[in-house]
Amino acid sequence: MYTQAFDIVVAGETSPVADDGDVQTAFLARIARDEKIEPQDAMPEAYRKTLIRQISQHAHSEVVGMLPEGGWITRAPSLKRKEILLAKVQDEGGHGLYLYSAAETLGVTRESLVEALHAGKAKYSSIFNYPTETWADIGTIGWLVDGAAIMNQVPLCRCSYGPYARAMIRICKEESFHQRQGFDIVRSLCEGTPAQKAMAQESINRWWWPTLMMFGPHDSDSTHTGEATDWGIKRISNDALRQKFVDVTVPQAAFLGLTLPDSAIMWNAERGHYDFGKIDWDEFWRVVKGDGPCNAARVSDRVAAFDEGRWVREAAAAHAAKSALSKASLKVAA
């Protein structure tokens, strides 16, 4: 989803200094030949730093992304929906793991990345700072938010860094179930009572604009996209992906009989795309900078979960140490 990282540099993070020319030239030539870069290969420091930022923000997004949905597992309207949502949320946890592992190949520890998230120093996708107020929101998240994520993630399967590309392939395989189960929830509501349909419409009204913001600032305002493109990390621009998302979603909403909350949406035959209205970028930056409806709650929930799990990690480590010890003494005795 979660390529906002190209545009969102955390305060205090400086752009690394340019590397010596040799590494740089050989590296760009490899990228031009569409070769994958692997962990032990020589790479410019700036490429490594950009990837760490991008992949870790992506990982944090997967993990924090479990929170808005997790709260609805116990309140899902049927056993089937509970099972499905549980499986979906579990997938997101797995996505976080794949991505932290990919980031670790660049020489950082997962512990340090998690610490940065908990200290409020790392970012994650702005979308997860909005509340899930109704059951319809779970449908909308799957349909629109995971749908937007897929749009963003599919091109990343071809990104130049091998471990990131492989993690993305694995993730994309799992994502399409997420979008379909969300669409299925929204569709059930739309085919239900007028109150259920109204709940779906109200949910779309709240999520539509924040979903469009997930693709990040306009290309004209996106300062880091140039480098990310040159390095084969980002393959398609923010605006191109956003347009693609609008183009596929408008007919889906029409099928469901839902109205997207933007009166400017209109087919433009000349462009061969749907036109749409202006995004409130002030809101976007407010949420990115920490002032969204749920920013504080999301981080404190993550910290609480981590702290409450500490005894489990410590017990597992103690158990491992003890059984290693008894294995060693068995060997001595033998």
């Binding site: 032990q40 020589a42 579990q90 520890t109 512990e111 908990h118 200290a119 694995r170 990690r313 597992a316």
Partner: protein, 99 residues
């Protein structure tokens, strides 16, 4: 906020999954776990949720010795000239048919 002592680093394991009886185990990714047994349990939960495998190996990541990418051409390029190692190097008369 967690500002106490830094978290202890949990060991890293590489995970290999055999997708079907009769096939090789293939590297699928890595994970952190307190020990090998724990790693197996987690690997099952993370990497085989959709019946991706029938068997799992876990190996401590630091037990793997890798070839040096800087020596890639020294290591592997010489084989390019040894085309006689491939069956297609040899001409078999049509009369002989399949060999």
């Amino acid at each position: 906020m967690t500002t106490e002592a830094p978290e202890a680093v949990t060991p890293l394991f590489e995970v290999f999954v055999r997708s079907k009886q009769g096939l090789d185990h293939k590297h699928v990714g890595s994970l952190h776990a307190s020990d090998a047994q724990h790693a197996l349990t987690l690997a099952r939960d993370v990497y085989t949720r959709r019946q991706e495998g029938v068997s799992i190996w876990v190996v401590p990541s630091n037990a793997i010795t890798a070839s040096d990418p800087a020596l890639k051409s020294d290591n592997f390029d010489p084989m390019a000239s040894k085309v006689y190692r491939h069956p297609t190097f040899y001409d078999i008369p049509d009369e002989i048919g399949h060999m």
